[in-house]
Symmetry: C2
Subunit: 179 residues, 2 copies
DNA sequence: CGCTTCAGTCTGGTGAATGAACCATGACTT
DNA sequence: AAGTCATGGTTCATTCACCAGACTGAAGCG
């Protein structure tokens, strides 16, 4: 963590993980990256995070090897932020924490549902496909869709709208693809 | 989160979860609760957290239903903080995040190893027992032990010392048991 | 009576988060 | 050529959370 005192005195692998993704916004940025958000502006729109904080978090996540910068145009040089291999491995913890939040801290159930893309079966609590068996499904094989019972009170920024349609994880969202 | 602006505008179950356990120290407190830490002073010693912050976090976790206060003596009324059923369900995300941290953010491997108590087999990446099969092992059936290759640089507070011996999760640590 | 333990609360200083405004680059419009 | 827009930032004043350490209070010990 970039806070004054970090967790360095903690012996624990968890503390190490929290130094990377434990700060406010960090895990939401990573989540958005799984959702296909790649551009600075799209993170900004979707999260409603102050620009300076977003800059700091993205740089920290890049420095930690969770994200990498990938140019998508020259001319005015622009780049997106994509998950690295290390970042992709956060899918498991992220999914489980999200499910926990859906069970215990959300009234009315989750806003998004996740299914195994090849077979269309919803993932179980562990992120595995009950139909296909085996271990947890990698994020590249997961499709998210909005929960039909949770339509009210949606955000209406372009990114949220793009995510209101079924969408494979990791695939750049329409907002970016249109540019 | 008790921050000025919380994540309330986020549609996501993950954001809800982070409001509960996303603040600095919160997840480390929950981790310690799994380790068997129950008392205010033991959290204080083990985490090196400011007292006022610990008070705030414990109260927030109790309010969120993750921990509950359980009196362990009258006279000067004293109580420990124990995981509720909801809190126990954080074991999965916590374990996975910890493993991620061990893989990617720790040099020299983790400080603690976790085994399935009945059979003594180390848990796999998902928190399941490779020997016994089936899904993830509940925390009550897990024993933690120090990683023998990570002895140097240990903390030397009484709680860390108590945790430097093999110890079933959720069982009150010696420091508390002795009092 | 003084000392210690435990679980806090209070206080004053520091640094991080916030929101708004501003800047830089290049393309597009008129 | 000037103005405007899109994108991706930086700067700044204010607010707020975190921090360390002192203090409180209740009970037990010698």
């Amino acid at each position: 963590m970039a806070l004054g005192t970090d967790y360095e005195s903690q012996d624990c692998a968890l503390a190490r993980a929290l130094e990377v993704v434990g700060e406010r916004w960090s895990l939401l940025i990573v989540r958005d990256a799984f959702y296909g958000v790649q551009r600075f502006n799209d993170f900004l729109l979707h999260l409603g995070i102050p620009r300076a904080v977003l800059t700091a978090r993205l740089n920290a996540l890049v420095a930690a090897g969770v994200l990498r910068k990938e140019p998508y145009q020259q001319a005015p040089l622009r780049h997106g932020y994509l998950l690295t291999e290390v970042g992709l491995e956060l899918w498991g913890p992220l999914y489980q924490l999200s499910r926990w939040g859906g069970r215990h801290a959300t009234e009315g159930g989750p806003h998004h549902l996740f299914a195994h893309t090849p077979c269309g079966t919803d993932l179980d609590l562990l992120g595995a496909c009950p139909q296909c068996g085996g271990g947890p499904v990698p994020p590249a094989e997961v499709t998210m869709r909005p929960n039909p019972v949770r339509i009210a009170g949606r955000r209406d920024d372009p990114v949220s709208l793009a995510l209101a349609r079924p969408h494979p994880l990791l695939e750049p969202i329409a907002s970016a693809a249109a540019a």
